[in-house]
Amino acid sequence: MKGHIAFCPHFHQPHFQLHKTREEAYTNSYLPWLKLLQDAVNLDSFYINLHFSGPFLYWIRDEKKEYLDMFNRLMASGKVGIIGGLADEPFIQLSSRVDDYLYQLKKYDQLLQETIGIKASDWQGIHLVERECGESVLKEITRAASLIQAPAIYYLDVETFYQEHFCYPGSDNDYCRKHFGFNDPVSITTISHIPAEMLFYALRDEIGGQAFHVMPVHSQFRYQLLKRQSFTSADTVKIKPTHYYFYIKDALEKAYQMVKSYGRDIEPLLFIFEDAEKFGQWSKDPEGDREWLMEFFNLVDKDPDISFTGLRSYLSSQGYLDSYPVASSRSYIEWENWTAKRGIRGVTYGDERLRRVICRLRDVEKLQEHLEKSILGSYRQKLGIELPTPLDGIVQRSLLESAERYDFISHVLRQYHDPQLTEDYELLNRVRNLLYQEDPKWASRHPVYGSSPYYDVLGLAYMEMVIKILRSRLETANVSNSDLKPVTIRDWDYDGENEVLLENEEQTLVLDSEGGCISYHHVLASSIAGDYSAMREIITRDLGVVKAYNSVFRYSYPLVFTETDSSISYQFYEEGGRRERCRNSLRCEVFIERNNELFSLGDFDMGNYTINEPIGDALNQRVKMSYSQDINIMDNMPLKIDLEKEFWLTQGALQVSIKARCHGGEKFNLVLAPQLVTSATPSDEVEFRPRAGLGLISAQDEDQSECYIQRLSRSSDDDKLKFYNHKTIVKRPQRIDYIYQIRSGDGNCFNNCLSFSLNSNNRLPYLYVEPAVKHYYKNYVFPEQSQLGYHSSGLMIRPFLHFQNGEAACNIDISWKLDTAFEENNYEQFIWLVNGNDSGLNLDK
């Protein structure tokens, strides 16, 4: 038996990855990899397929040129093959546009040629992000690959193939059981699937006429690789290189024997796919891992029956076993909560926060299409082509549905339009594509380091600037469309209920009728609001060549883009199955106070608010929402409470007015508690020691409030956070400034400030300060991942206003200063929420 091993480590760091994380991986893994390969390529039978993700390569190109030099010297050995892929490591199925496949492949091809000098036609295969695919992904990527002469060779987890050999009475496939409730006695069927032992060969498939080859990946060979340590105290399994080699040879032998019995004499292939960081970074022991891998390589080298191979080389020498269908992928069955269920399809039921990113992307896709239609219209005019009516529409639709849509528009722009429009269009497409990158969509959240929604927040910071530029372009082009109105009421997040979207030059605000609250609020710094040149300059500088690090938060920041909160989840079943809702801002609760205890009344934080007729023109964007509820506090004591909220955008601020009126309950001690929430978090991507605090400026009166601050956090020497609670008496605050520090990987360190001014004639006895979200996915993920703090979820301030004469009302002015000077001494009282100076604070754990 002769067998082959395709070894394929995957090098990846997402766009906007934290500086410290990248540097650690560089030292522990990427450099040791090079040293390992320098030795390994001297072995006769050695060959390795490497996949560098686009974001990884952009970072290396920007920051580690010496790495590229060393790597390119290694390429001269001829024993390193390169796997192609998509430029931004995107979950491309989130995109509405088929031309993104070609765009991503071409960008990657361009990047690879520039950095390593390999053309698409020389790729060993194509990496599919997370090996996640449905039929459309395979079809479209194959179509796009053919346009750049890239080989349509993929590797997919073996679970992607049909492996169920039997259906049996009582199984899911038993239709009698399904429809009538009894077991079908003759449902025992052997289906003519390829036996599992034979899934060690290249297989061919075609979808919609697009033919491709797939090599199955067996996860056990991934997990056994470098399994030198125990995961838990009960785990005693340690795989030695000799064991690993044994398993591989055994699997190849069985595959060969099975295929022989099938009547073929073809040499099997075992595919080893694993994240490159497993070597060195996960174990923190690069030397031990190096020895392990080198021993394994040597074992293979000494075995005349087994050799390493490239994907395409294998296919050339052995061909494919047969045509066999690929199903929709299930690459991470065990992690499905993080993929399919969390909305890998985009705007689907699942992760509310992710949904907001995708909804904003859908907005951009629509605006981009308006622009493209406008360009196509003017193109025909310039060419002087008058197509008869049906043809006109057919041509336009054909172009917009083409895989080469972007290329076509881009060429037209270059040919016939001013360079600035071309640049704007290309920037728009570049930024939009960045937003699909996989990492923030599922696993790579870093709650500990103050970057929970970090990657998406950074992407949105650029995206909102692009939207402003695009809107201005469309207005200039006199494109008239409801999507361009400053205030719109529509089902923005496709949840079956309306939202209100308000936009001006500085702000984007989405109000959700559920809870009558802010589900998304993005702001620009006053210095660039309306200044499209400045915005272009920032985007071009940072993303024209995709810089590794940036300071975009000086200019652009989503203030409300909150995490889901386990405390306001909707539980479908007692044993599990729930929908977690985002905390959002300016939900309001009404309480009744009895014996110094507060009891929540009604459904004012979650109820469905009525959206009253909004006002929306270029100068004025305003909307009212109201909710009314009859409440029976005790038998025969009915009362009715009306709550009205008004939101309007002003220059440099979002103004909110809240009025609560109680009919019939004047004698009760009622309390109104609006929730002032922001998802803004401090971030320190260099040292992982974020800092944020609250500065209080008091009102003129002498009233005092009890201020309860929960979960203050401090970094300990071992870089773990410790949490404390704190209670203090403060003068009634008129303004609360939330200062959060951003220390970015490019060496910049600056402070952003978010101010909440609160005016009310009602008494304010208590003020609660707490993290915006304390737990998300509680009991669904590991406790340490579930627990959030100020550094990872942002802030919630809850003023408790006492009703007077049956009424409570307040005006809240929310303003911001990005990249602003900060002096702790400028405040009457300053409380560090995260990693500050603790003098004078009595912190209770």
Binding site: F166, Y168, T236, H243, Y245, F246, Y247, D250
Partner: protein
């Protein structure tokens, strides 16, 4: 000082190489290798790697050592494991097709199990289990002791046979372990007055006997439980006032004897109270009719029908619980001993190695947990005999064994009387053949082979199988075959029929019974 826990595992499989495969024969050896020896050594290595004190005494019978070292066995064992893996895979698919997912899951477990045993055998042990044991002894933590050449029941053997069994037991040991043995395992704990002299002559320092041999009283071991259906009278040995909590020097002799602790043995071995009979453990006797694999749990040891599907996770949990219970019992035992005035009591547990894993599927896990628990105990510590220190007290030991009745009944009863007659005759026959050893090479080879056949006849296994009516036919066949071979060699030598046919036949039986070859080249006679 902590109490010293001395665990002694005695390993033996009859000589079955090339003596039939299944259902009787080599499969016994393969099962023991796959289910006991390899998992046990791996567990021992894991414990050592984890820094846990895991000292154990082992004995390996010379016939077992010879078979474990045979390249023929290595090859056949790998084939056996591959067969089992393939059978498990077939079962897995079969039971999936029937919708019996629970059994299919266990089949998948067996498939992985046999694959990993093959991995360990080939990769970790380089097919040489004996070398792995030698390495464990050389690195410290394991002491291997010698035993009789073919596991003969020594108390009833004639003197020459006895000497051969001890001498060749020692020589085989030295061949494989490259050192002189200190301890000797008396097969079946069979002791009689005088055997210590032969042991002393061969340089042995200590041996083990059952508890009643030292303490007196009624033997209580599982083999000793004669019920109404058995005719054996269980004698009560006179109380001596001695205790197994300490080793003794045999009166006026320079050799130490360790008595096994009755409680320690009882809790594991007892048919009524022993751990292996727990309802959650895997049932040994019920096999799948297709593959022979075992998918059921004990459920109720008194009945054979209605067994429930085995749950490996539950069984492992049970083994952990039993380990905790066992070590607690040891601690109580230790405290009891201290109250009796033993400042550093020794507690000796002797078991057949094959109990763990083969007979009691979860036994290896149990033993591993016991060792971990003892390591955590403030009262106990595992020790080897030399760590206990020299015996300060003398004792006279009863003639005894660990078999039913506490003496020789299991191997010497109405069913086996005729066998002893043959054994004695064969011994005498062999003695008369020694003179031919000075002849030609063929003569010498023939005498050597005669000794091998004699020693195989003396093996206690055939007596045991006949007595217990277990695989009696196979035992009698083997017994007669070896005797017939001895007789034919004798006839040919006496009648000088050393012709081509004899040489061919001799060559054939040398191939069939080809153990102790290294010994013959070093001068067997």
């Amino acid at each position: 000082m902590n109490s010293k826990i001395l665990l002694v595992l005695h390993s033996h499989i009859p000589y079955v190489k090339r003596q039939g495969r299944w259902p009787f024969g080599e499969v016994w050896l393969f099962e023991a290798m796959a289910e006991t020896y390899i998992p046990l050594i791996q567990a021992w290595i894991h414990l050592k790697d984890a820094g846990i004190n895991n000292v154990l005494s082992f004995s390996f019978s010379p016939t077992l050592l010879e078979q474990l070292s045979s390249t023929y066995i290595h090859k056949e064992f790998i084939a056996y494991l591959q067969e089992r893996e393939a059978l498990a895979l077939e079962d897995e698919r079969y039971y999936m097709s029937r919708g019996e997912k629970d059994i299919a899951r266990i089949a998948a477990f067996y498939r992985r199990y046999y694959r990993d045993i093959r991995r360990d055998f080939i990769v970790d042990f380089n097919k040489d289990i004996v070398r792995a044991i030698k390495r464990a002894q050389d690195e410290g933590g394991v002491e291997v002791i010698a035993t009789a050449a073919t596991h003969a029941y020594l108390p009833l053997l004639d003197t020459e046979g006895l000497k051969n069994q001890v001498l060749w037991g020692k020589r085989v040991y030295e061949h494989y372990f490259d050192r002189e043995p200190r301890g000797f395992w008396l097969p079946e704990c069979g002791y009689f007055h005088g055997i210590e002299d032969i042991l002393i002559d061969n340089g042995f320092k200590y041996f083990y006997v059952d508890s009643h041999a030292i303490e007196g009283g009624k033997p209580i071991e599982v083999y000793s439980e004669g019920g109404e259906e058995t005719e054996v009278e269980i004698p009560t040995f006179a109380r001596t006032g001695l205790s197994t909590y300490r080793p003794y020097r045999i009166k006026d002799k320079e050799i130490t004897v360790y008595g096994r602790n009755s409680m320690v043995s009882h809790q594991v071995w007892s048919a009524d109270y022993g751990y292996p009979g727990d309802p959650d453990y895997r049932e040994f006797h019920k096999h799948d009719p297709r593959s022979g694999l075992k998918y059921w749990k004990v459920t109720d040891r008194r009945i054979f029908d209605g067994k429930q599907i085995y749950n490996p996770d539950q069984a492992i949990l049970r083994a952990k619980q039993h380990a905790v219970h066992f070590v607690k019992s040891l601690e109580e035992n230790s405290q009891k001993a201290r109250k009796l005035g033993f400042s550093t009591p020794s507690i000796v547990g002797c078991y057949d190695t094959e109990l763990f894993g083969h007979w009691w599927w979860e036994g290896v896990s149990w033993l591993e947990e016991v060792i971990k628990e003892i390591d955590l105990s403030k009262e106990l510590e595992l020790a080897l005999p030399y760590e206990v220190g020299p015996a300060k007290h003398e004792a006279q030991v009863f003639e005894s064994s660990w078999g039913m009745g506490g003496k020789h009944y299991v191997w010497d009863n109405a069913e086996t009387t005729w066998m002893w007659e043959i054994i004695n005759k064969a011994g005498k026959e062999y003695e008369t053949l020694k003179i031919f050893a000075d002849g030609s090479d063929i003569h010498r080879m023939a005498v050597c082979q005669a000794l091998k056949e004699l020693m195989l006849i003396q093996s206690s296994d055939w007596l045991f199988m006949v007595s217990n009516n277990l695989t009696r036919d196979y035992a009698m066949k083997r017994f007669f075959e070896h005797y017939t071979k001895l007789l034919r060699i004798s006839n040919c030598l006496r009648n000088n029929k050393i012709d081509e046919e004899f040489v061919k036949w001799l060559d054939q039986i040398q191939y069939e019974d080809d153990f102790f070859n290294q010994v013959s080249s070093g001068g067997l006679i």
